[in-house]
C-alpha cells in the first residue's frame, strides 16, 4: 500500500491557553492537489507551519511519504517544498542569487535546474534584478519556484496566489496542476478562495477552530448552492415583486441588468425554469449559484461566527 504523501495524526498545537490546532488528523493521497480551507484563525497556517517544524507541535505526529518528521527529519523534509505566508527573500540579492542560496542547502540542485525553474516561473528575463524591485506577484512566483527547486514530491503552499492578478493565479495553478498530472507531484494548498480550490483541487479538507470539520472529494464538499439559482434572461427581466408572489420563491436579487439570483424554498431549478417560461420570460441560462465563502462555512460548521 502506498504511504500517503502527508499524514497528520492527532496533531495539536497550543499557544498558552489558545488551542490553535486540536487533534487534527488527515491524509493527503499522493499525486493530487488537495485544498485546505478554513476561515481566518481556523488554524490553517499553524498546521502548515508545523510541517517543516517552524512551529513545534504540542502533540501528534506528522509523516511525509511514510517518514516520521520527528524521527527522520531530514529524510522527511527532503521530499517537501514549502512556501508559507507571503514568500520572503533577501531583497538586496537577485532572484537567481536567492535561488542559489536555497539550492546550496538542498544539495543536488545545479545551475541548469535554477535556469529551468526561472524559465518555468517566467522570471528568466528578470533573474539578475534585485528582488526588492519585484512586484508581489513576481515574488509569489519566485516563492513557488524556490519551493519547487529540490524536485519535491510534496508541495505545501500557504495562500500561494495572494496578491496575484487573476491571470497570474490561473497561470500558477495551471502550472501546478500540470506538474501534478505529468510528474505525480502532490500539492497541499491552503486557500480561502473556494473557486480556486474547486477548480484545481481533487480533495479538500475543511478546518475550523483547529479541528477538521469536513473532508472528501471537492465536488461533494463544495457542491453549488442548489436553492440559489442564477437566472439570465433574454429581453424582459421580471420585477422581483412579481416573482415573490409565488410562495416557493423566497428572495430575488438583481445582480446585473439581465440576471437575477432567486432563492427557492426547495431545490427545484426545473420547476423555476418551467414557471418562468410559462410566465412568458425568455431564459438563456439557469444555474445553481456557487456558494459564497460565508454560506459555505455556515453550511459546514453551522457557526455564525464564520459568517
Amino acid at each position: 500500500m502506498t504511504a500517503p504523501a502527508l499524514a497528520l495524526e492527532d496533531l495539536c498545537k497550543r499557544f498558552g491557553r489558545i488551542h490553535a490546532v486540536e487533534h487534527l488528523s488527515l491524509e493527503v493521497p499522493p499525486g493530487q492537489m488537495a485544498g485546505f480551507l478554513g476561515p481566518n484563525g481556523a488554524g490553517k497556517s499553524t498546521t502548515l507551519y508545523m510541517i517543516p517544524r517552524l512551529v513545534h507541535p504540542s502533540g501528534g505526529r506528522i509523516c511525509i511519504f511514510g517518514a516520521d518528521l520527528r524521527r527522520d527529519f531530514r529524510q522527511a523534509l527532503r521530499s517537501v517544498g514549502v512556501m508559507v505566508e507571503a514568500p520572503a527573500f533577501y531583497e538586496y540579492l537577485s532572484a537567481r542569487k536567492n535561488l542559489q542560496l536555497a539550492a546550496r542547502v538542498l544539495g543536488g540542485v545545479g545551475s541548469r535546474d535554477i535556469d529551468e525553474t526561472l524559465e518555468r516561473i517566467g522570471l528568466a528575463d528578470r533573474q539578475y534584478d534585485k528582488v526588492r524591485t519585484y512586484s508581489q506577484g513576481m515574488k509569489q512566483r519566485l516563492g513557488i519556484g524556490r519551493a519547487l527547486l529540490g524536485r519535491p514530491r510534496l508541495l505545501v503552499l500557504d495562500e500561494p496566489t495572494n496578491g496575484m492578478d487573476p491571470e497570474g493565479t490561473r497561470e500558477i495553478l495551471g502550472f501546478l496542476q500540470e506538474r501534478v498530472e505529468r510528474d505525480g507531484l502532490t500539492v497541499f494548498i491552503s486557500s480561502h478562495l473556494l473557486h480556486e480550490v474547486e477548480e484545481y483541487c481533487t480533495t479538500v479538507f475543511v478546518i475550523d477552530k483547529g479541528r477538521l470539520v469536513a473532508s472528501g472529494n471537492v465536488r461533494d464538499i463544495l457542491k453549488p448552492h442548489e436553492r440559489v439559482i442564477r437566472t439570465t434572461f433574454v429581453g424582459e427581466v421580471p420585477y422581483p415583486a412579481t416573482l415573490l408572489a409565488d410562495e416557493r420563491i423566497k428572495r430575488v436579487e438583481s445582480t446585473s441588468p439581465d440576471t437575477l439570483e432567486i432563492l427557492l424554498a426547495a431545490e427545484d431549478s426545473a420547476w423555476l425554469n418551467q414557471h418562468l417560461l410559462r410566465a412568458g420570460y425568455r431564459v438563456s441560462a439557469i444555474t445553481p449559484r456557487q456558494k459564497t465563502l460565508k454560506e459555505f462555512f455556515l453550511s459546514i460548521t453551522g457557526d455564525h461566527r464564520n459568517a
Binding site: H56, R74, E85, L93, A102, V105
Partner: protein
C-alpha cells in the same frame, strides 16, 4: 547524512558580502586607525614611542567603541533581521537542523569580528611602519625587549583580543534570537552594553563583567612597547575564564531559545 553547516556558512558569507553594513563597520574602524595616526604625536605618550605602541593604542581606540559597536550590531542583526523579514522561515523550511543554522550565524559573526580586527591591525601596522619601526623595544640604555619578543606579544595580543569580542558576538546573537525586530535587537544590545559600562563601577561589579577585558591584550602590548615590566598571567586566565563563561552562557541560551522557538508570524 552530512552536516549542512558548510553550505549554510557559504550562504552567510554571500549575504554578508552583499550588504553595506559590514563594509561601513570596516571603514569606520579604519578611520579610527587613521585618526589615531594623525593625532598620535599630539598624544605624545610613551605609547607612541614605537610601532608596537602605536598599534596597541590604535587597536585600543578602535575596539573601545566603534569596532566593538559594529561587531555587536552585526551580531545583533544576524537572526533578528531574518526573523523580521521572514527569510528565516524560508531558510528553515529545508532539510537542515536549527542548530546548524545557529552555528553558521555564530561563525559568520566571529568571522566578521576577525575581519574587523585584521583590517584594523593591518592598517595600523602599515601606518605604524610608515612613521615608526617594528624594531626591538629600547631606551637610552639599550634594548629592553627584542624584536622577536615584541612580535610574539603583538601576535598574542591580537589573538587574545578575539576572546572578549567572541563573547560580544555570542551576546549579540543571543539578543538577536530573543528580539524579533532587528532595530530593537540592535538598540537593546548597545543599550545594555552601555548601561553595564556606566554602572559596573558604581555597583562594584566591574571585576565580574567581561567587557573590562576588551582592550586588555592591547594594554599589555602597550606595556611591552613602553619597555616596562609586563605580565600576562594570572590576569589572562581570568580573562579567558570570564569571557568563556559569558560567551558560553550567551551561546547556549541563544541556541536553546532558538531550538524551542515557534517561528510563526
Amino acid at each position: 547524512m552530512h552536516s549542512q553547516l558548510l553550505p549554510l556558512l557559504r550562504n552567510e558569507v554571500v549575504k554578508a558580502v552583499r550588504r553595506k553594513l559590514p563594509y561601513f563597520g570596516l571603514f569606520m574602524g579604519g578611520l579610527i586607525c587613521v585618526l589615531t595616526y594623525v593625532v598620535a604625536d599630539e598624544i605624545g605618550t610613551a605609547n607612541t614611542a614605537n610601532a608596537w605602541g602605536y598599534v596597541a593604542l590604535s587597536m585600543q581606540l578602535v575596539f573601545a567603541d566603534i569596532g566593538l559597536i559594529f561587531v555587536l550590531v552585526f551580531a545583533a542583526m544576524l537572526m533578528s533581521d531574518e526573523t523580521r523579514s521572514g527569510t528565516i522561515r524560508a531558510a528553515l523550511a529545508a532539510p537542515l537542523h536549527r542548530w546548524e543554522f545557529y552555528a553558521a550565524k555564530v561563525i559568520i559573526g566571529l568571522l566578521y569580528m576577525i575581519a574587523m580586527s585584521f583590517v584594523c591591525l593591518v592598517l595600523s601596522s602599515l601606518l605604524a611602519r610608515a612613521h615608526y619601526g617594528f624594531g626591538p623595544v629600547a631606551d637610552s640604555l639599550g634594548e629592553i625587549y627584542s624584536q622577536r619578543t615584541a612580535l610574539a606579544n603583538f601576535l598574542l595580543a591580537w589573538v587574545l583580543s578575539w576572546v572578549p569580542l567572541a563573547a560580544i558576538v555570542c551576546y549579540g546573537l543571543f539578543l538577536s534570537t530573543m528580539i524579533r525586530s532587528s532595530g530593537a535587537a540592535v538598540a537593546a544590545s548597545i543599550g545594555t552594553l552601555y548601561v553595564i559600562e556606566f554602572t559596573k563601577h558604581l555597583v562594584g561589579v566591574d571585576p565580574y563583567i567581561f567587557t573590562r577585558y576588551i582592550t586588555y591584550p592591547w594594554q599589555v602590548l602597550g606595556q611591552v612597547a613602553q619597555g616596562v615590566g609586563y605580565e600576562w598571567r594570572p590576569e589572562v586566565w581570568k580573562m579567558l575564564g570570564l569571557c568563556g563563561v559569558y560567551g558560553a552562557v550567551a551561546f547556549v541560551a541563544g541556541l536553546v531559545l532558538f531550538l524551542r522557538q515557534d517561528l510563526n508570524e
